[in-house]
Symmetry: C3
Subunit: 259 residues, 3 copies
């Protein structure tokens, strides 16, 4: 009962691909481009106009590009002026502001709030209720867990805005805050409810308030196996591109040889 | 103006009890059963289809049972495949995923996010913006305050999922994270913004990062009265079943004699 | 495409000012007064009825007053019985319960949750996902950042409700919890992810768990300038009333001479 074409509004200036389903009560604004085989569920807003829309009669909506194979769940609001790769998906009630750039295969959980002016690589998974401040820059295969906040203003309030950076394959556990300008390397694990500032090298296990490097993630020992779970791509492959061939083989083919 | 029967969609395969009100713009999907005297407010989705719905033409929606006397506030999304006892209520914009089981008289606050595959007993109150991970198991009369997160993956990302367990009458204060497999006994109090892992016996006061048992809750002294507020059922009875007769009398009748 | 007058419901007992725009699917309940030149975007509920509405046939909706020049973004729910000064604005999906009082020029971010029975002065900015408990009392020019929670029950659950108080110009950084009855003076800065209880004098820098006064904010030194950013009004004036004339001149005219 999601796709009855009831109260659907699609701008004449939007471009809708082949085999796209659009749910009831969804609005698609000017200059939105939606790739083939995408599903935009019910009650979504795609290409939400920027503030100027309310006050300027000559307002022109910036272009929004959603790649093919998207699955946008209900009540998601995506502002105009963002670009999403293929197979992008959201949970319910996600909000994404303007000038956000996402690679392929990214997933955002329920109520997650992207403040705009951010960059994500491919295969990033953000769980429920993550908050990404402006000027954040995130690599590939980065997973961010519920209630994590990435900040950007070192002396609030100010006109300074320096986002956090997170390297490929790093994991940020629940409830953690990254302070402005934090640099997390590749393959790091940041523990739950940490308060993290500064610069951290690849493979760091970072924990606490203030967050410190405790050890190399490769030196963590599982109680069960006696071995480290990290780097995790050797031990987790569900829905990952190395699911069939294994991480080592995939790395070689994909220029990740230094990871 | 909530109940004008405008844009209400009710599946022919749903069973609606007597004296049920359904608000405007609400959708009730296949195989939903709603008990007598319930109110489903405006803009709700009850029986939200699972992921397979989008891709499988023969998709069959699992059964959803909402007991009598429910009050579901606006914009709540309840996935199919869950069971709720009588007098269930939600705030606005609550999301509840599949295979969630709630007893009688449970209340969930605004924006609270239940990830599915969880069990709650009777009379649990979750305030605003609580996040309950899969495989959590919660007893009776458990109150969980805003921004609490129950987690389940000890080495993210992995295929391991071991939820937290909380015993009857325990209270989890704001901003606390329960780590995977945490076991909180009965009548415990977990202080605000704690990071808690491990196993805790009944009547523990648990505080800090890492969360530790500080004392027995019965040894806490109020500045005003010199006595402990805990076990709280002796000092708080609003809307509790012992409101009239007192906790001791109620316990005897209800097989809580060991608490 | 927001203002097509589709599915808009406005009570005959509401008073709508001049040059007000009301978005599609928005509902305005009885006894709401909206000031001139306001914009209420799509899918909002203004004057949401209190609980009694569902059960009492003679329910009368309390008065709600929204000052002129408001900009209420989509999916915001404002309960009846609150008062807002001029130029009030919200992000998406904000929830504001009854008996909330806001001065002029206040802004609330996406998903922020005001529990009602609170007072805010003028020019308060709450970012995304802030939670304000009942009986909180906030001064003027107070900025509160994402995931901050103001609490009110010292021994949960109880019938005691003692909110936090925050003085003019104070800043509460991300993820911080203010415990019940906390009193933050004027021009304070509370650092990220702090757990704060007790009483703090003006100009305190408060950090940690438990939150303690570390120093006077005027003694903080910027790495870049060697000077303190605080009191911030000397160094930040965007959209502030002293933007043109400077803080000292503005203070003199506005009876802030002691700040």
């Amino acid at each position: 009962m999601k796709f009855n074409n009831i109260n659907v509004f699609i701008s004449e200036k939007a471009v809708i691909g082949k085999n796209v389903k659009i749910g009831d009560n969804t609005v698609i604004y000017d200059n939105v481009i939606i790739g083939d085989n995408s599903i935009i569920s019910n009650n979504c807003v795609i290409g939400e106009p920027l503030n100027d829309y309310y006050f300027n009669e000559n307002y022109e909506n910036p272009q929004t590009i959603i790649g093919e194979g998207a699955l946008i769940r209900s009540h998601t609001i995506i502002y105009s002026g963002s670009v999403f790769g293929s197979n992008f998906s959201t949970g319910h009630r996600v909000t994404i502001r303007e000038n956000s750039k996402f690679g392929n295969n990214c997933r955002l959980g329920t109520v997650t709030d992207i403040q705009g002016y951010v960059e994500f690589g491919d295969n990033c998974w953000l769980h429920s209720n993550v908050h990404i401040g402006q000027q954040s820059k995130i690599g590939n295969f980065v997973f961010i867990y519920p209630y994590v906040v990435l900040t950007n203003d070192p002396t609030p309030p100010s006109n300074t805005c320096i986002g956090a950076t997170i390297g490929d394959f790093s994991q940020i556990a629940v409830g953690t805050v990254l302070l402005p300008a934090t640099k997390i390397g590749k393959h790091c694990l940041v523990g739950a409810q940490s308060l993290v500032g500064g610069k951290f090298e690849d493979y760091s296990l970072i924990i606490g308030n203030p967050g410190k490097k405790i050890k190399d993630v490769r030196d963590m020992q599982s109680k069960d196996t006696g071995k480290s779970h990290y780097p995790w791509p050797y031990n987790f492959s569900r829905n990952m591109p190395w699911e069939e061939e294994g991480f080592d083989s995939w790395k070689l083919k994909n220029n990740y040889e230094n990871d």
